[in-house]
């Protein structure tokens, strides 16, 4: 009795049920032969905490690539680099320093244009209330905030600057800490948790444009020479077609209105293929700092 009653409710044989399931959910991708999602790693080289913007950008890329795009975010550069190395990501927006360090496993995909050029600087900032500090040397014995140990503008440049005067960060400063994002370095200096900080000039300028109340509490003490802008790097093993498609979409962003709007939110002007030579400066600095005792 009971069995017959159940049959009445689900009048499907097992085989027919499976087919129905496939048609409803799983079938479209399988049937259309849609490619696996493109996984893009993001790091705090830009303001990566704007979820709504990220979703818009992801949809834009998905549409342009005709392929699902997934953004992968982690707390530090190192984790993203590791994911890339393990082929868990197809490409990532990295800092120049980890790109240089892991050059053999990576391939330069595209370099953003900031103020029309693929270059940026590292800023040394102090709290706005501190009007006495004039150079990095005045910060001896103070608390200093870095962005990430794998950041060029937020770590490497300051190490290099100190090495130039025969100093080492751990001796020169009373205490240092990592805020794990350029934006947070700005915040740490703004609330005077740190008396100085090393920050990506692009991030600082972008914050100044969108959140001027935060940057108003800080003062830029020194600007570094120009370095290659944090690039998009693909894993070396990424198929050429995928690599070319992604580079094409990124570079084309400056060409359409939707892309321009997204770029405006990024405070960028576009993407260029870029050259390896852009990052030579960073490589030099890295080698010099490594040689330091």
């Amino acid at each position: 009795m009971t069995k017959r009653f159940e049959m009445a409710i689900f009048p499907l044989s097992r085989r027919r049920f499976c087919t129905a399931l496939a048609l409803c959910g799983l079938a479209p991708r399988a049937l259309a032969g849609e490619p696996a999602p493109l996984r893009l790693g993001l790091t705090p080289v830009f303001l990566d905490d704007q979820s709504r913007f990220l979703e818009a950008w992801r949809l834009y890329l998905t549409e342009r690539l005709q392929r699902p795009v997934v953004f992968v975010q982690r707390g530090s550069y190192r984790e993203i680099v590791e994911l890339l190395a393990q082929d868990q990501l197809e490409a990532a927006w990295l800092c120049g320093f980890p790109f240089v360090k892991n050059e053999r496993r990576l391939r330069l995909l595209a370099v953003p244009l900031f103020q029309g050029r693929p270059l940026y600087r590292s800023y040394l900032i102090v709290p706005a209330g501190d009007t006495r500090t004039e150079t990095l040397l005045d910060l001896r014995g103070k608390v200093f905030a870095y962005s990430d140990p794998d950041s060029n503008s937020g770590f490497l440049y300051t190490q290099h600057a100190l090495s130039q005067i025969g100093e080492r960060s751990d001796r020169f400063f009373a205490r240092t800490f990592f805020a794990w994002a350029h934006r947070k370095v700005v915040e740490a200096v703004a609330v005077e948790l740190a008396q100085g900080g090393a920050v990506d000039g692009y991030v600082w300028e972008t914050l100044k444009r969108f959140y001027p109340q935060v940057t108003a509490k800080t003062r830029v003490l020194e600007q570094s020479p120009e370095f290659g802008f944090p690039p998009f790097a693909a894993r070396a093993s990424l198929p050429e077609a995928d690599f070319a498609a992604l580079r094409q979409v990124l570079i084309a962003m400056g060409g359409d209105a939707e892309g321009k709007a997204l770029l405006a939110q990024l405070n960028l002007d576009g993407f260029v293929p870029g050259e390896r030579g852009l990052f030579d400066g960073i490589g030099r600095m890295a080698r010099q700092v490594e040689k330091q005792p």
Partner: protein, 486 residues
């Protein structure tokens, strides 16, 4: 002010005291509520602080282990991020101290920078740092510095038995104050409302209570050396203390009046007695030479010359001296019982006959009511003299009618004469019986004096009642036990 309050009428004192009492009660109740609210707020705050502190301390283990100062800062700063948070339960400052007791991070980096010594920056932190220093448990420690308006909550940050640092949260009692002010304001409003309701009640009640006392006091105030005649006291009648005081006062008032009346009577009597003694003395002193002089004239007339001028002169002298003798005799009333016969009905009827002509000549109706039937042991001449004097006075004063009543009871005889003439004013009463009374409009003014003297000598009494349109003299003479022998 002190005297003002002391001298204030009970009418106001009672309502004021009621209000004072009500206000005092309200203040005490409010104070106890405030005290309780303070206690509860403090406990709430501490509970909240401790639970939040435990969460923070647990969360801070990771960042401290990894020496991630920024993460630690983000954690302790997170309670300050929410915008609609109840600020009163928010810590003023949160500090994370490292193992050496230095600031690891704080929510006020400008005030408490990293690596600084919090006690040097703010000595009030010494107690809480001391209190948490030796602790291994995770239990929060609470310290409140005496005289400080801050509370300190300290929680050790412990990982696997190892002490990593200390979380310290400070709370100000500042946010309590608006809450207290709010409660106090509400309480004040309620008190005012209650007072507004109580005021009329207290006013009515105070008047109810004070009214009888106020009236009693008002009555008493009117009594000076003498009790005013027109004093009317409308006093409350009840059995409580005020009612009893009123009753006592009324009794006292009555006694005072009685006493005053008696005093007046005694004074009048004494004055008359003094006058009597004086006039009797003078009369005696005059009588002796007078008798001599009259005897001498008599002797001269019998044996002297027949010179008509001399005789005429002597006659004049004799007449003058006779007049003096009469006057002196009138003053010197002595109840010598000349007539030894008792008073009979006839004697009284004779008096009627004597005055009837006088009354008729003045057109006055004489009503006569004689109840004496048997003889009475009283000197008839004197009684007739009294009755005659009273009747003649009455006829003189009467307008239309004089009424005479003579009656007796077992112990006394009363002669009552009433006329309808002008009444005697009260103020003249004490002088009524004085000799040569100025009140006597015609006559020598000795009539009532004589009446009084006779009555006194017969141990009787005189009652005078004079109201407009009616004046009554009543002489009451006691009847001796035995027939009068003197």
């Amino acid at each position: 002010m002190k005297y003002f309050m002391r001298d204030l009428s009970l009418r106001y004192k009672i309502p004021l005291r009621v209000l004072l009492l009500a206000s005092l009660t309200a203040i005490l109740v409010t104070a106890s509520i405030l005290f309780r609210v303070y206690d509860e707020t403090r406990n709430d705050l501490l509970r909240h602080a401790q639970s939040m502190g435990r969460v923070l301390a647990n969360t801070l283990v990771g960042p401290l282990t990894h020496d991630d100062a920024w993460r630690a800062f983000e954690i302790i700063n997170s309670p300050f991020q929410s915008e609609e948070a109840d600020r009163s339960e928010l810590a003023e400052t949160i500090l994370v101290l490292d193992g050496k007791g230095q600031v690891y991070v704080s929510t006020r980096p400008a005030q408490f920078p990293m690596l600084s010594d919090p006690v040097r920056l703010d000595p009030e932190f010494a107690a809480i740092r001391e209190a948490t220093a030796g602790r291994d448990g995770r239990n929060p420690v609470v310290r409140a510095q005496p005289g400080s308006n801050r509370l300190f909550v300290g929680i050790p940050i412990i990982s696997d038995g190892a002490r990593l640092g200390t979380l310290i949260m400070t709370y100000t009692k500042g946010p309590f104050i608006p809450r207290f002010i709010g409660i106090a304001q509400r309480a004040a409003l309620m008190t005012l409302l209650a007072l507004a309701v109580l005021l009329p009640i207290a006013w009515y009640w105070g008047n109810r209570m004070a009214g009888p006392l106020v009236r009693l006091a008002g009555c008493m105030d009117q009594i000076g050396p003498q009790v005013p005649e027109g004093l009317r006291c409308d006093l409350f009648e009840s059995n409580d203390e005020i009612g009893r005081a009123g009753a006592s006062f009324k009794r006292m008032l009555k006694e005072l009046r009685e006493k005053a009346r008696l005093e007046q009577q005694i004074m009048a009597t004494e004055r008359l007695a003094a006058i009597g003694r004086l006039s009797a003395g003078i009369a005696h002193e005059i009588n002796n030479p007078l008798g001599g002089m009259l005897n001498a004239i008599n002797t001269f007339k019998r044996h002297g010359s027949d010179d008509p001028l001399t005789l005429k002169t002597l006659s004049l002298l004799e007449r003058g001296l006779g007049q003096i003798k009469d006057t002196v005799a009138a003053l010197l009333i002595e109840a010598r019982v000349e007539s030894r016969h008792a008073l009979s009905r006839r004697d009284i009827e004779d008096t009627r006959t004597l005055v009837a002509a006088e009354a008729a000549s003045k057109g006055i109706e004489l009503a006569w009511d004689n109840h004496v039937t048997a003889d009475l042991p009283l000197p008839s001449t004197l009684v007739r003299q009294i009755l005659l004097n009273l009747l003649l006075n009455a006829i003189r004063a009467a307008e239309k009618q004089v009424e005479c009543q003579v009656y007796r009871d077992s112990r006394s005889l009363t002669l009552a004469v009433r006329n309808d003439g002008i009444h005697i004013p009260d103020e003249d009463m004490p002088y009524l019986f004085e000799p040569f009374s100025r009140l006597s409009r015609n006559g020598h003014g000795l009539g009532l004096w004589i009446t009084y003297q006779i009555t006194r000598q017969l141990n009787g009494g005189i009652l005078v009642e004079s109201d407009p349109g009616q004046t009554r003299f009543a002489v009451t003479l006691p009847l001796p036990e035995e027939p009068c022998m003197t």
